[in-house]
Amino acid sequence: MTTTMLRLLSMLYHLNPRWLYLAITVVLIIPLVVTLPMSTNVSSCGPQGLYDTAGSCPADKVILIDSSWDLGAKPECMSQLECFVNDLCRRKIKFVVFSTSLYAPTFANDVIKPIAQTNGYVYGTDWVNLGFIQPPAGNMGVLIQSFCENIHATRPIDVDGTAVASLPLMQSVRTAKDIHMVMAINYCPWQEWISFGKGQFGLPIAFGCASIMGPYFYVFVDSDQLCGLLAGNRGAYEYESLTGMRGMGSKVMMAFAFGMCFIIAAVLIGNVGFWASMRLRRMP
């Protein structure tokens, strides 16, 4: 390879990163204009397990959702909560929501209320938001044990300050025995759900987490400690593929595909540039 060619290639290694920022912005805008067909294969076992477990919920039980994500995890967790609640409403499954983050109840309500309204879900009868529950001494293990033994004593009021005992749905939801499964959605859900919720009370647990936490939690799916896992927007997209309802997960997946292709290309180009600059340095 000629020196001129190597010099040109080595320029790629010393490229100003601002060009990359501009390029990725353009790349991520393209999918907003152009829509291409995408694969609807559910490749991982996580979403399927969650879909099957949620679907087997008996009429006299509820699904507990620990929606503790807030602004810091919104881009990934919002789509997960949306697709899961959409599915529960479609299958007429009742659910109870609570949060262990101060800001989370507002975000959960913003997602759930429109879906519940569209599906004719009545607050207090078909679903309840218990709002923020402070883990005692900052320890989630204590909260899970207390919650599973006596929900009404652990959280006597809902998100609006209404007495939990006065809500029709909560009359029959008092302990872990009245809960079919737990779905914990957060950037990194509390792993105490696995140790105490599953280990001590035998509740099926599923997680919705950020993509970055996916590799850490997949081992728990493999050991059947988690019945399902939605990792990032891809998890939400796969769950939407199972339900046949298109939501936020599907909207961003095209941009993801474009973005990841760009990252792969950038890594390859950067490596070619690095190789060329090394060759140039070694040349006499």
């Binding site: 881009p75 320890n139 280990g199 996916g214 990841m260």
Partner: protein
Amino acid sequence: MNNPITVWVGAIMTLTILSYLIKDNIFYRLAQKAAMGIGVGITVVLTWQQVLQPYWWAHIQGAFSHKEHWLNALWLLALIPGAMWYCQMSKKWFWLSTPIIGLFVGVAAGLAFKGQILLMLPQLPATLKPLNPWVLDGGPTHANILFCLNNLVFLIALFTTLLYFCFTIKADNRLFRLPMKVGRLAIMVALGAMFGSTVMTRMAFLIERIQFLAQFFSEQISALAKLVTGG
């Protein structure tokens, strides 16, 4: 986020934060400090509204407004252990904070011990995986053979990774040199997967903001076009 003021503030703040990509500037720093201040302010208000008011103050108020609930006045005593935490700030009174810290550390350690056992113990039987497709339902079908091969890869990665962390074995040991190399390779693959997932998470944040800005600008342009054409 339908309020126009909220949308405008959101768009301006997003652009201000993204301006850091061009160069560190005063607007970025202002936005950063404002975000921190707002965060602290909201936390103080929400802590009162969601924790202290319903779980503590409401009981005390009830004790003074209803004589039959006078025992709830005992909730005032919660101030004593609460105040003990703040003794950490004084050299003279530091010793007063130690019992309450000890109590919390003890509870946390006990629960962490129980939690880790319940979390990690089921992982051990989960490593016992079938390697013989003939013992599986349906015999040596294509799916069962792939399943067993998958299990074999899992077991090789598990044992070689564990071996890699056996520091009592010398790395130049002839018998263990190759398995240790395989273990290192398995760790590298796992780290690669984690790095890929990290990129996906960061990408999700960027996509959300870019889509928000794209929607914002398209709405503003269409509103401006309507204004110009008188539509």
